[in-house]
Symmetry: C2
Subunit: 145 residues, 2 copies
DNA sequence: TTTTTTGCAAAGATTTTGCACCTTA
DNA sequence: TAAGGTGCAAAATCTTTGCAAAAAA
C-alpha cells in the first residue's frame, strides 16, 4: 500500500502539533496542482472558490513555511511566490526568462553536487539552497532573431 | 584619474535617457552604504530623512531595476530586498541563516563556473544567476551546541 | 525651453489582527 | 473537552497613480 502526498502532509502537520483540516488540504492541493510557484493573491483567488478565507491562506502559508511544506521564491523581478518543497515536490531550480518573465523548472542534479562541493571549508553549515538562473527562453530567443 | 561609482551611475542613467538627480543619488548611496539587500520600507525610512518622498523611492527602484543598477533578492523567507549589482557591487551570492535570518555575502567565484557548465546543451541562453544557500551561520551553530 | 522628475494626497492592494464561534483529535 | 483553526470585518501596511509645480539637460 502506498502513502500519498496528502498522507505525508497529515503526518507532518500532526507531528508538529498542527491539525489536518479541509482548508489546509485545499490550499495544499492548489499548490500541488500548479506545479509552479504562485503569488499569494493568485492562490487566494483560487481557493476562495472553495470557500477558503483570505486570512486562512495567509495563516496557513506561514505554518506551511514553518514546518517546511513550502518555500518562497522570487518570480520575475519583485514578486514573491510560494511552492511545495521535497518531498511534496521534486528538488529543482528555476530558469526565469528575462524577456517574458516565464518561470520553468530545471532538474537539480546538474548543479547540486558542484554547489555543495564549492562550500567546503567555509565554516557554514549548508542545509539547502536555491538557484535561479536568468536568461532567454527558447521561445523568446527565437522571437528576437 | 579614477571614475567613481557615482560617475558610472550618472553615465548609465544618461545613456538611458534618464536624469541624474539628487534624490536618485541619495537612494543609490543608501543602497551602497548598506552592503546588504534592503526592503523597500526600510529604504524609505532611511532616505526620508534626507527628504526623499516615498513615491520617488518606488519610481526610482523601478528605473534602477530596468537599467540594471539593482536586482531583487529574497531575504529571509518571504521578504523582497533590493541590492546593487555589478559594476556597482561585486558579484556574489547569499548565505541565509535559517536560525536568525541573517544574510551574508559569499564570493561568487567558487560556484559560478560550475553553474555555467551545468547548463550547457539545454537550449537556454544564460545571462545571469542568483544562488542562495541556506543553513546555519557560525554564531547560530555555536549557540545550538 | 523641453522633457523628465518630484511632491502631495488620494486611491488601491495587500497583509495582519482581535475575537467569537467552530472543528479536530 | 482541550487545543487549535476559521470567518469576519476592521485596521495597518505597502504600493500605485494623477496632476501641478520644480528641476535637469
Amino acid at each position: 500500500m502506498e502513502r500519498t502526498l496528502e498522507d505525508r502532509l497529515k503526518i507532518l502537520l500532526r507531528a508538529q502539533g498542527l491539525r489536518f483540516t479541509p482548508d489546509r488540504l485545499r490550499i495544499f492541493r492548489a499548490l500541488a496542482d500548479k506545479h509552479k510557484p504562485i503569488s499569494v493573491p493568485r492562490l487566494i483567488a483560487i481557493v476562495e472558490q472553495d470557500g477558503v478565507n483570505q486570512a486562512t491562506v495567509y495563516r496557513t502559508l506561514e505554518q506551511f513555511l514553518a514546518v517546511g511544506v513550502v518555500q518562497t521564491v522570487l518570480l520575475h523581478d519583485g514578486v514573491v511566490g510560494y511552492e511545495l518543497v521535497p518531498p511534496f515536490s521534486s528538488h529543482h531550480h528555476h530558469f526565469i526568462c528575462l524577456d517574458c518573465g516565464s518561470v520553468q523548472d530545471l532538474a537539480a542534479e546538474r548543479v547540486d553536487s558542484a554547489l555543495d562541493k564549492s562550500l567546503e571549508g567555509t565554516g557554514l553549515r549548508v542545509i539547502t539552497h536555491k538557484v535561479d538562473i536568468y536568461g532567454q527562453c527558447e521561445k523568446c530567443h527565437a522571437a528576437s532573431l
